[in-house]
Amino acid sequence: MANASLDTLRRTVLGMLVPALVLVIWQVAGSRPGMAGILPTPMLVLEGWHGWIFGSPGMGLNPYLGSWVSNVQYSSMRVAQGFFLAALIGVPLGLLIGWSRLVQQLFDPLIQSLRPIPITAWLPFSIALFGIRDMGAIFLIFLGGFYAIVVNTTQGARDVERNLVRAALMMGASRKQLLYRVVLPAAMPSIFTGLRIGLGISWTAVIVSEMVAVKSGLGYVLWDAYYVGRMDIVLADMVSIGIMGFLSDRLIVFIESKVLVWRMLQSH
């Protein structure tokens, strides 16, 4: 017992060593004259962040006071909408592509030829199509999530064990029943892999599109704060994005652990 807790302690200390070192270097480097407009110290970042979260808006000339929560909400809502749409279309389409030769022949060439275009390259087109409005951002987020979801789901549907399909047919399952009683659950682990990767890309997409295509959200603040030289807000914003990405990923992992109990047991 003592050994185990000692081991945990050792691991915690070792794990914090390098991050702590980075913080110290940051603090020292940030304190040097001439670094003020480039790298504010961790303390200054915390201070700016605190005001950004808890300050009362409308006081003085600081446009960021108290706007953190609403900006996090803007970005999260966009990610949620675009990502939900991507899952809603990507999962069924992926299943059908993996399952039906016809659907594969119809859709796979299009998806495979559009996929190499980075989502950032879609930005001007997206703005031209939707204007400086939410839809432009949501379209980009959708696209980013969609590829990962559809490709992984297709793979999962294609890799269903042949004998499971045979067993279901032997017991009298129709093709439709085969799809949602065998292919869907068997593809579930791959679907979740796709959802996790897709969600990560969705966060990238929301930041990029908010920098250009809309006037609110963490991405907008990030670029705006840079322009007015508020590097403390820039850094606090970056950390905020990281935290949101991490939390949303944890949410999917949590749902996965509930849905895929059989899979969790298998890997132990």
Partner: protein, 249 residues
């Protein structure tokens, strides 16, 4: 009238060098008969089973079950797979009632039967377990309960006990004999294990490889019901020697 009737059956896999998996197979199985297909790996015994199951189509020849040509898999021919092939996301109970459920039967129609079959294979205490929580032998018990619940009159078994340890295998063989005595389904049992074939079957079809053919039909002279003691009898030993000589020839 025979339950399964196979006449001049051929199966060739096309390709640059076509593979003759089965050649001129003739086989008649009576209702309630337990026959074994015995042979080395690659002799086409699993292919033959897949054709009867309807998973694959013959290249040539006739294959009748209940005087009907086999076109597709169906609940009248239950298959027990080598690795059980249970749905890992379903519990034992859900796996066993999968067939009746997808066929749209009412719960009252299959519930009693499913409970009974789970009891016969000795898994009453494990209905809510997932397959991953079961041993290999228990998974095969679920595989058997599932096709018994299905009400299949033909059971097609593809080396179902091949992956089990010797002791569990024997228990499963005894279980299969008990089930067979009780319900009298027609069983085609594929194996490469000579002892298993003799212990279980009334007739053994010995197959040879490349191309896969039926070499000989052997009638097992052991009386039923059979017990483990039979495996130590002189009849058993001499029959085993005969088959060994035949396979090596």
């Amino acid at each position: 009238m025979s339950h399964i009737s196979i006449d001049k059956l051929y199966k060739t896999y096309p390709g640059a060098t076509p593979v003759k998996a089965l050649e001129d197979i003739n086989l008649q199985v009576a209702p309630g008969e337990l026959v074994a297909l015995l042979g080395p790996s690659g002799c086409g015994k699993s292919t033959l089973l897949n054709l009867i199951a309807g998973f694959e189509q013959p290249s040539q020849g006739q294959l009748l079950v209940d005087a009907q040509a086999v076109r597709a898999p169906g609940p009248d021919r239950g298959v027990v797979f080598q690795e059980a092939a249970l749905f890992p996301w379903l519990t034992v109970w859900e796996n066993v009632i999968f067939g009746p459920k997808v066929q749209g039967m009412a719960r009252s129609e299959y519930e009693d039967r499913a409970h009974e079959m789970i009891k016969i294979v000795g898994l009453s205490d494990f209905k809510n377990h997932l397959p991953v929580q079961l041993s290999g032998g228990m998974r095969q018990r679920v595989g058997i309960a599932r096709i018994l619940t299905l009400g299949s009159r033909v059971l097609l078994m593809d080396e179902p006990f091949g992956a089990l340890d010797a002791q569990t295998r024997l228990t499963m063989q005894e279980l299969l004999l008990t089930v067979w005595q009780k319900l009298k389904p027609t069983i085609i049992f594929v194996t490469h294990d000579i002892d298993e074939a003799i212990f279980l079957a009334s007739s053994i079809y010995v197959m040879s490889a490349r191309p896969g053919r039926i070499q000989t039909k052997i009638t097992v002279p052991l009386a039923r019901p059979r017990t483990v003691a039979d495996t130590a009898s002189e009849t058993f030993a001499s029959l085993k020697l005969d088959i060994l000589n035949l396979i090596r020839h």
